[in-house]
């Protein structure tokens, strides 16, 4: 029985052996070719990417504003950083085999040679970096620590892994070496196999502080940015951890173009070959902005703010109406990169000047009387008034409430436009010229809130202007939905009066207002262009808005009125009249003095500590307040506006922002017709500048002269 069973057992084993043999024949002979095909997939390759240079940002005339300048990293092989004792031996053996070290040299001798030259390398690197050897060692230890942490993490998941990729990589021990030093190091260390000077780049911005906000910044990518990357999946272009990408401004808008295509170096250890694909540098993009003009306008604004009663900030936007290129988008004040780096907190706390804000498009203001042009177009288009309809200026809208809803002229000098201009009452173009509040209160009432808001919307308020910048603020068109959502109410009768003269909830950015002027000039609302690629194709962001045509019939009287505002005796903006230097051109415009709440500079907070003690603290915001206290954070039980700027006038009179919006046309353009010649739309805002005609108008005039003067900057 025993022997029979043993036979049985042996037969079983034999059967298994035959099966194994068959399977071996299958793998090694029959289907061997199939497995051979897989070899390229598994061949050990060290593949590394070479970072491309980021494209430059140029201005309209091709001047470089931001570009990548070469700066290299000095990298070392990980085994050297780790001081792996076997590495030198392996290396020595390999070098002897390949003949780099003569075969006569004993292995031990060769190792000693390599060790000496490694010591020398460290000395050279330390000297070059201006650090001590021990500091260099510390850096190396930090790299080892990081890699080992990664390894621990990986081995916890898959315990059979014995070496991880990071261990056969090159790690930067010195970063951002200037080109000259890099060349020197390359020369001195080039023959040593464990160091490499890997070329890299540093983003350098020319002195263009006036463009700081527009240009934006680059920053290290995080998971969120990688997840939102439109080029994800393209392994040569997608964002990877450790990359930098545009995080604000044009750097962000044009990121995918500026980024470029990675190069790749693939080392095939099996074949001993190195395959190299050079990186393709990112393409340049062009701002539509003229950097010189931007600078000149910045100086004009600086002057304007200095002369203002309550100096704060200012903004001006110039749009080429034909192409909708933004030729200038200036915000005042701005800041330098050095300030941003070193004194960020000061910038943050400067609540009056608030240099971190891009006032041209990031802050929305009540548009004031500039809005009247929109109300007029909308009223004519809707047919609630005709160009000839005459409405009397009564000084105050409501006979029984003479202190409310008054015309500005009645406020100033107790007269009405009926007294000063025409007793027959004003037509649309007269009302625009006079900026009569009463006319527009009535027009607003006739239009009703819905129709008025539709008008605001058609002129681009509450909508992206089209630059693609994430900084763009939409402003507010107080539709019923908006009111319900943010104010929890419906429109009341008086709302529409206010909105028609650009007060109350409605707000707009200087960029939007400039585009309103461009829309009036051209008869169509169109998104603006800020960035173009090398071919001149506009680069736009997501949700790029579409064109909105405006009825030409309705625009005609408004254009006439805007011409009269500037060029007629008694208009509200005589200061914007162009001088004889640019005799071929005239300015048409609309002023605005938009009442606004003063800035709240800081708050008086009442905080209650855990032990019940209460304390009053003055701080600029809740976040900053809570930063002051250690855990446990106190409870905020009260918050009051503390300092305001500017202080309220007598009788609680609100301060006003000075606005001007307008466009240029040739002198021979027929009245009310589409402007001819070089048509630029301009908006100027001086925060708390009070009178639009007196303060903002002259600045707009200077800007137009810069644009149109034979010697001046031309787009």
């Amino acid at each position: 029985m025993f022997e029979r069973r043993l036979w049985f057992f042996i037969c079983g084993l034999g059967l298994l052996a035959v099966l194994i043999g068959a399977r071996l024949v299958d793998i090694q002979v029959i289907r061997a070719g199939q497995y051979h095909e897989l070899v390229p997939r598994i061949t050990p390759r060290e593949s590394r990417f070479v970072r491309p240079a980021r494209g430059a940002i140029l201005d309209r005339k091709g001047r470089t504003l931001v570009s990548d300048e070469p700066a290299s990293d000095l990298t070392m092989y990980y085994a050297v950083i780790e001081r792996n004792p076997n590495y030198l031996r392996t290396l020595a053996r390999r070098m002897r085999r390949s003949g780099e070290i003569p075969a006569e040299v004993e292995l031990d001798e060769a190792i000693e040679m390599l060790r000496d030259s490694l010591l020398q390398t460290r000395q050279i690197v330390a000297d070059a970096a201006g650090v001590s050897i021990s500091m260099l060692s510390e850096r190396e230890e930090a790299i080892v620590k990081r890699v080992q942490a990664v390894k621990e993490f990986i081995r916890e998941k898959s315990p059979t892994v014995s070496t991880i990729r990071e261990e056969s990589r090159w790690h930067a021990v010195l970063e951002d070496i200037p080109p000259k030093l890099a060349a020197e190091l390359q020369l001195r260390l080039g023959n040593q196999p464990w160091v490499r000077v890997q070329p890299g780049a540093r983003r350098v911005r020319r002195e263009a502080d006036e463009l700081t906000h527009i240009l934006g910044r680059i920053g290290a990518v995080d998971d969120k940015r990688i997840a939102a990357d439109p080029l994800a999946g393209d392994d040569l272009r997608e964002l990877r951890p450790g990359d930098f990408c545009g995080i604000s401004g044009v750097e962000r808008v044009a990121d995918t173009i500026l980024r470029g295509v990675r190069g790749r170096v693939v080392q095939d250890f099996a074949q001993g070959t190195e395959e190299r694909v050079e990186p393709e540098p990112g393409r340049d993009v062009m701002l539509t902005i003229d950097a010189d003009l931007q600078k000149q306008i910045y100086e004009l604004l600086a002057e304007g703010v200095k002369n203002s009663l309550h100096p704060a900030g200012a903004a001006a936007v110039v749009i080429d109406v034909e192409s909708r290129d933004v030729i200038a988008a200036v915000t005042y004040p701005t800041y330098s990169s050095a300030e941003f780096r070193d004194n960020y907190d000061d910038l943050l706390r400067d609540r009056i000047r608030n240099p971190l804000r891009n006032r041209a498009l990031q802050t929305s203001y009540p548009p004031g009387s500039t809005c009247k042009a929109i109300a007029a177009v909308e009223a004519l288009d809707a047919g609630v008034v005709s160009p000839e309809t005459r409405i009397h200026c009564t000084g105050a809208l409501l006979p029984n409430r003479p202190n409310m809803f008054r015309c500005w002229i009645f406020n100033q000098s107790r007269v009405t436009h009926d007294d000063t201009d025409t007793a027959a009452g004003q037509r649309t173009e007269d009302a625009i010229r006079n900026s009569c509040n009463i006319y527009f209160y009535r027009v607003g009432q006739m239009l009703g809130p819905e129709r008025l808001c539709a008008g605001f919307d058609r002129f681009g308020l509450g909508r992206r202007a089209g630059t693609g910048l994430i900084e763009e603020t939409l402003g507010v068109v107080p539709t019923d939905a908006w009111l319900q959502r943010f104010m929890r109410r419906h429109a009341e009768k008086a709302d529409v009066w206010n909105w028609a003269i650009g007060q109350g909830e409605v707000t707009a950015t200087p960029l939007q207002v400039a585009n309103v002027a461009a829309t009036i000039a051209s008869g169509v609302w169109r998104p603006v262009v800020l960035v173009r690629d090398a071919d001149g194709t506009p680069i736009v962001g997501d949700d790029h808005p579409a064109d909105v045509p405006i009825s030409a019939r309705a625009l005609q009287p408004v254009r006439v009125g805007m011409w009269r505002v500037v060029n007629e005796q008694g208009g509200t903006a005589p200061g914007a009249r162009l001088s004889d230097e640019v005799e071929r051109y005239v300015m048409c415009g609309k002023t605005g003095s938009a009442q606004a709440q003063p800035l709240i500079l800081n708050y008086r907070f009442v905080v209650e500590h855990a032990d019940g003690r209460r304390e009053e603290v003055v701080e600029i915001s809740r976040d900053e307040l809570l930063k002051r206290f250690p855990e446990p954070k106190p409870r905020i039980v009260g918050q009051f506006a503390n300092d305001r700027y500017p202080p309220l006038g007598e009788g609680g009179k609100l301060p006003a922002h000075a606005w001007f919006m307008g466009y240029t046309q040739t002198r021979d353009t027929p009245k009310g017709a589409t402007p001819r010649g070089r048509v630029y739309a301009i908006s100027v805002l001086i925060e708390f500048g009070a009178a639009g005609g007196r303060v903002a108008g002259p600045i707009a005039k200077s800007i137009a002269e810069l644009l149109l003067a034979p010697s001046g900057a031309k787009g």
Binding site: M1, F2, E3, R5, L6, F8, F9, I10, L13, L16, A17, L19, I20, G21, R23, L24, V25, I27, Q28, V29, R31, A32, Q34, Y35, H36, L38, V39, R41, I42, T43, P44, A79, N84, P85, N86, Y87, R89, T90, R155, E156, P159, T160, V161, S162, T163, E167, S168, F269, A270
Partner: protein, 424 residues
Amino acid sequence: MATRGMVREPSAMLGPARHGLFEFTGLGWGLALPVFLLSLLGLFCIHATDRLGAAAGPGETEWIFAEWAAVLGPATVRQLAFILTGVGLMIVTLLPSYTRIGKHAYLFYGVVMAALVALIIDRYVWDVPDWLIPVRRNTRRWLTLGNYFSIQPSEFMKLGLILALARYLRYRDSYRTWAGLVPPFLFTVAPMLLILKQPDLGTLLMLLPVLFCMLFVAGARKRHLVTVMLAGAALLPAFYAWGMSDYQRDRIRVVFMQSSTDERWHMDKGYQLRQAKIALALGGVTGEGYGRGLFLEANTQLLPEENNDFIFAIIGHQFGLIGCLTLIALYAVIVICGVEIATKTNDPFGRLLAVGVIVMIVLQALLNVCENIGMAPITGITLPFVSAGGSSVWANFIALGLLVNVAQRRPMMMMRKPFEHRDG
């Protein structure tokens, strides 16, 4: 039961024949030659794969053989040391008669069990210092003395089980009944449960075949064995669903997903197996030659565990189909010699011992090969005498010693009858 006292062991009656230590040159070459060749092949292959970083373990740099290691490679020197000490252990095993060793079978089994229990204690009861029981790769398989010495009790459990089962089964026939099958199963299942908690699936799964084969040749009823196996097979899905951890399930899936077109699977869970098969396929019929071929000349390790669980693929890579079949033939020689020893011995303990040892060696070998070619899940079984490793080398050499011991001390009655000449 009363008869048990009456039956006396033949060794006690006759005393085993003493042929002296060197007698095994006459009989044992059949075993010694294949084992010598396998060990040599293992050493050479380990040396071929011994490259920077491949087998660098903790504390390697302060090793006493550092000088040699620098020349031959650390893993090679290690393996050489284990083989030499393993041969020493084998000779020690040869010195006393296997019957005397058999008397201490339960003691040996008990000691190994105690070691296994100690590993479990570290996990569940209290924390034993790390220099005694380290946690490596999230498992507790080793008893160590710092970095100087480490031993894997589960490898010795195979031996312990063979000894204990042989001892238990030698004169009984109770295992021909259902109830009588319970004790041998308990012998097997108890250490399996302990090893399951280490966890060390490969060793664990080796114990059951040893039990079944020993019961089978000892004459257990086929229908009992078949019933138990069917019941076990029926329980497998449940074990797969609840008794395994994710990574163990993945390893089983690897076998069934070999032809998957999902490249991610092959780059992740199926990586080892596909690499092994590519290594074998590149070897073709005649192989790439010693130390040659992509898997050995590449700068990085392409095949994880290439000097251990997957050394077979490396052998096939270098020596091709011919090498693989030769390797299997070497194991076949061991089996044939072992079976001959088992048949020629009529001491029941010796027979069972011989069968157990053969089963252990050959099944490990075949299962390891199966893992390399995708015929069995990858559980971490080593190729006996070839794979790098300490405890497994020692355990295999001791097992070999037991086998030779049985051969050497063949009872008198098996000798050729005197004076019976053929030509007469």
